[in-house]
């Protein structure tokens, strides 16, 4: 695997903390890996205590992901194997060159203005040459990759509405300054937040396929390990990254293998039925929960190297796929996880 050069976004000040070096937080790591194997799972929402490495994990994902083939010169990273690309450089049927690029993991910072998110006229071209040119925004850059919003619960409402619309359609429609264009914007939405800072709108919450809850570890050895690794990383980032390179490469191979296996992984009728029963027992609204549960279990099975989805996979992803879809019980926040666990135990036997 060629080492992807970080040319997609302006190079951050330092290399990110390696994904493999994150201590604990297994559910969060698993959810991100599942989304990396099958983007159709539909996004990950990470919420919980401060200082638990929520954004660290997402930013680390960029360095972990295997590269992807994209059409040379396409500003939307269109897939050469895709049925249809965007409407500018990659016309259907034409012979195109492709190259390997890193999977984009795009940060949507708070305070971003709408023109940078959606894309707008290129200001420089307009001012200097009087030319109308489209300058793609963050949605274009995130196409086929990940769009990450830290503190997603604090994002301005009008940006949230816009994101929901694009995430649902997979396409960004731009109508401004006499420009009228559309381009593909299929991305995995990853959000993180702390429920104490304000809660997420239910429409947005429902848009995330998986939701994971992170808690500060309470046992001393784990906590010491977290502090030790973080400190080592900050003092000598290069040698720390080198030390974890091998573990990262192993994870990367696992993702590649799982992606290849995904179409071959079977979902037996028994598993479908189990998933349906579980959703019925929990009274989740709509079919989205069931669908996500099955997809996530299938991605997990291919990560595990299993031939078909079994109870083991359903059990492990049930909480992440369903906890944010339960009919809201405002009386206990922690309760939704416990409710899923109870239903799982009742159905699969403790």
């Amino acid at each position: 695997m060629a080492a992807p050069s970080p040319s997609v976004s302006p190079a951050p000040a330092a290399a990110p903390f390696p994904f493999a070096a994150i201590v604990g937080q297994e559910e969060m790591k698993l959810a991100l890996l599942i989304a990396a194997v099958d983007p159709a799972v539909g996004g990950v929402f990470i919420y919980g205590d401060r200082g638990t490495g929520k954004s660290t994990a997402v930013r680390a994902l960029a360095a972990l992901l295997p590269g992807m083939r994209a059409i040379v010169g396409c500003r939307y990273n269109c897939d050469p194997a895709g049925r249809r690309g965007c409407d500018e450089s990659c016309t259907v049927g034409a012979v195109v060159k492709s190259h390997l690029v890193p999977v984009p993991v795009v940060d949507l910072p708070l305070g971003a203005t709408e023109d940078r998110v959606v894309g707008a006229l290129d200001l420089e071209a307009a001012l200097t040459r009087g030319v109308k040119a489209f300058e793609p925004g963050l949605l274009a850059r995130a196409n086929r990759g990940f769009l990450y919003i830290d503190e997603v619960n604090l994002l301005e409402d009008h940006l949230v509405d816009l994101l929901l619309d694009v995430a649902a359609s997979g396409e960004n429609v731009v109508e401004r300054e006499g420009l009228s264009l559309r381009h593909p914007a299929r991305f995995v939405l990853v959000g993180s937040g702390n429920p104490e800072e304000g809660e997420l709108r239910p429409q947005l919450l429902d848009r995330f396929g998986l939701s994971v809850e992170v808690k500060t570890p309470q046992d001393l050895p784990t906590r010491i390990e977290v502090v030790r690794r973080r400190d080592a990383f900050e003092r000598e980032p290069e040698s720390f990254a080198a030390h974890w390179e091998k573990a990262g490469a192993r994870l990367r191979r696992q993702i590649v293998a799982a992606r290849a296996r995904l179409p071959l992984t079977l979902v037996p009728d028994a598993a479908l039925e189990r998933a349906a029963l579980l959703c019925m027992a929990l009274g989740t609204d709509g079919l989205r929960g069931e669908l996500t549960l099955v997809r996530a279990a299938r991605a997990l099975a291919s990560l595990d190297g299993a031939e078909s989805v079994g109870d083991a996979q359903l059990r492990r992803v049930a909480a992440a796929a369903l906890r944010h879809r339960l009919r809201r019980n405002p009386l206990d926040e922690a309760g939704s996880t416990a409710r899923v666990a109870r239903a799982v135990d009742a159905l699969f036997g403790a």
Binding site: A13, D115, L123, P195, E196
Partner: protein, 599 residues
């Protein structure tokens, strides 16, 4: 120097000066200082000490309250852009302060969005700018001094920010006389980066943090950096035991939520155990089992861990823990309040910036911002307007330039009446409740508030009147309210909390008015039985308090009952015995309660 035999304990002022000296060694690494003090000579002296400790060239930038994003993060410099004919970046305060320290005035008043922007910059050391057609990553390795001028207990620097700043210095109790000049820097200092810390220091600080109930993992990390800074300040290349102890005292002690070896907090006058089920309190009960036990180091010399812990413990001010429990309760409350602060698309209220959008009926156009938005595009728009007409002097404004004023609205109050309509509540009470609801509704026309009504009787609670400001609807549903049957109090409280939560999500502020005599006799599953029903009602009351719902409990028993009063305590509710209440008295009491909330 080992554990207990430290010379006279340093005064708070000396500690504060220590903090200034340490922070100055590594402003970005240590994040910063929450400086809790009113403006005045003591705070000025501390700031002067900090300035003296910082390198001469280092800038101290002040970030005013309600600073707009284009000043905080940066944006398009419109004047320069138009003059130069190409996009010119205006750098924001945070990247201007790169390598220096920013002073955050009135830190306790900062909105969550502002705090989150600062937190992102503190974490990454850069400003990721995605604004006004510009995209830049600008270095911003800053330290923050959060000037916290809060007086009341709940006025505090946002936890999201405080968590990232190593130190909390409280100058409120320090008099001018105590705030004399402190020790000067020795000049021996070595670079922080060259200081090594033994594994034992890292482990000791981590253990001490856990023992003190400091759960965020940033705290031990910041303590470790503080220990390095302390060593660097003293000219050592290796962190010593004193350095670690100092770091524990200055970084960990102010964050403590419990005393070491404290069993689950004594329950004498403390709130009930449900307080513990806060976001990070789930495992608090069994954590002390893993703490270093006091008898362990009997034979050896005290380990570093114990010294560090002792140093931190000595610095925990008396009464801190009681304060923290209070703060816990406040936090639960803040959640609902936070939701209430975000009403949708308000057209009136306090101005809160501008946004792009279609100019629909009722929206208020921000003319200056609209013209600003249109200005850069004039060159390319010019050929399309007029075609030779004398339109050169005009500015071409397109719909996409429209900038609308945003407002934050004063949250409406929705008063949720929860009426005990059981047989035990005398029927005439029901009449009074009806009267009070009607009176309140009449006031709603003036105040634009709403009311809702939940009644519980028989086996369940039912929502008779969803939140409304319509007098007619309310009268109709009230007329249909019959009395009699058992008292499913738990069901009533739960229903009220659920509705209050919905109300808060819609952007309103809920106030629950519970009219009951406290005599529950139907359990949540509908089975009769006094003891079970009572336990469930109490559990429901605790849940309501955790949810942060504001409650006014009106005791409707002919003689005020201890039952209702204890229920009010569990709910953290205002208690009002109204043995001879009439409707107008009742509505006055409610108006008083909601006014108090606003005040």
């Amino acid at each position: 120097m080992s554990g207990g035999m430290a010379a006279p304990a340093p005064s708070p002022w000396q500690d504060a000066l220590h903090v200034a000296a340490l922070f100055a060694r590594d402003p970005h690494g240590l994040g910063g200082v929450v400086l809790r003090a009113l403006p005045g000579p003591v705070r000025d002296r501390w700031l002067a000490a900090l300035r003296a400790a910082l390198p001469v060239a280092m800038t101290l930038r002040r970030v005013p309250l309600n600073v707009a994003d284009d000043r905080l993060l940066g944006g398009l410099d419109l004047a320069a852009t138009l003059q130069a004919g190409r996009p010119v970046l205006q750098v924001g305060l945070l990247s201007e302060a790169d390598g220096g320290v920013v002073l955050l005035a009135m830190a306790e008043q900062r909105a969550p969005g502002e705090v989150a922007r600062l937190a992102a910059v503190l974490d990454s050391g850069v400003v990721a700018l995605q604004r006004d057609g510009l995209e830049r990553t600008l270095p911003a390795r800053i330290g923050v001094v959060a000037l916290d001028e809060g007086m009341a207990e709940e006025e505090r620097t946002a936890p999201a920010l405080a968590d990232r700043l190593a130190f909390l210095v409280d100058l409120t109790a320090i008099g001018l006389r105590e705030a004399a000049d402190g020790p000067q820097a020795t000049g021996l200092a070595v670079p922080v980066a060259s200081v090594r810390a033994a594994e034992a220091v890292l482990e000791g600080l981590s253990a001490a943090a856990l023992a003190l109930g400091v759960f965020s993992l940033r705290a031990p990390l910041l303590a470790l950096r503080a220990a390095r800074a302390a060593a660097a300040l003293a000219g050592r290349r290796e962190v010593s035991t004193e350095d670690a102890a100092l770091a524990a005292r200055l970084v960990l002690a102010p964050r403590a939520t419990r005393l070491p070896q404290e069993a689950p907090p004594p329950e004498a006058e403390a709130p009930p155990p449900e307080m513990e089920s806060g976001p990070d309190g789930a495992d608090r009960g069994d954590a002390p089992a893993e703490l270093p036990t006091p008898e362990e180091p009997a034979s050896e010399t005290p380990g570093l861990e114990d010294i560090v812990l002792a140093a931190a413990q000595a610095a925990i001010p008396a009464g801190l823990l009681a304060e923290l429990r209070l703060a816990d309760g406040m936090r639960a409350r803040a959640r609902l309040a936070g939701a209430a602060l975000r009403p949708r698309a308000a057209l009136r209220g306090r101005p809160a910036g501008v946004r792009r959008g279609a100019w629909r009926a009722g929206a208020r156009l921000h003319l200056v911002e609209t013209l600003r938005a249109a200005a850069p595009w004039q060159t390319i728009r010019r050929p399309t307007i007029g075609q030779g007409a004398a339109s050169d002097a005009r500015i071409a404004v397109r719909p996409e330039d429209f900038r609308l004023r945003r407002f934050t609205r004063r949250a409406r109050t929705t008063t949720i009446f929860v009426v005990d309509a059981s047989g035990s509540a005398a029927l005439h009470r029901l009449g009074e409740a009806k009267g009070a609801v009607e009176l309140l509704l009449a006031q709603c026309y003036v105040r634009r508030d709403r009311v809702a009504l939940i009644a519980f009787r028989g086996r369940t609670a039912s929502l008779l009147l969803p939140p409304t400001a319509s007098l007619l609807r309310a009268r109709r549903s009230l007329a249909g309210l019959a009395g009699g049957g058992g008292t499913p109090l738990a069901a009533g409280i739960d229903a009220a909390v659920a509705l209050a939560d919905n109300v808060a999500r819609a952007g309103d502020t809920p106030l629950v008015v519970l009219l009951t005599d406290g005599q529950a006799n139907i359990a949540a599953d509908g089975t009769p039985g006094r003891p079970a029903a009572r336990l469930e009602a109490e559990a429901a009351a605790r849940r309501a308090r955790i949810a942060g719902v504001r409650v006014l409990l009106i005791d409707t028993a002919p003689k005020p009952q201890p039952l209702a009063r204890s229920l009010a305590t569990l709910l953290a509710a205002q208690y009002l015995p109204l043995p001879q209440a009439d409707a107008s008295q009742l509505s006055r009491a409610i108006a008083g309660a909601s006014a108090r909330r606003v005040a």
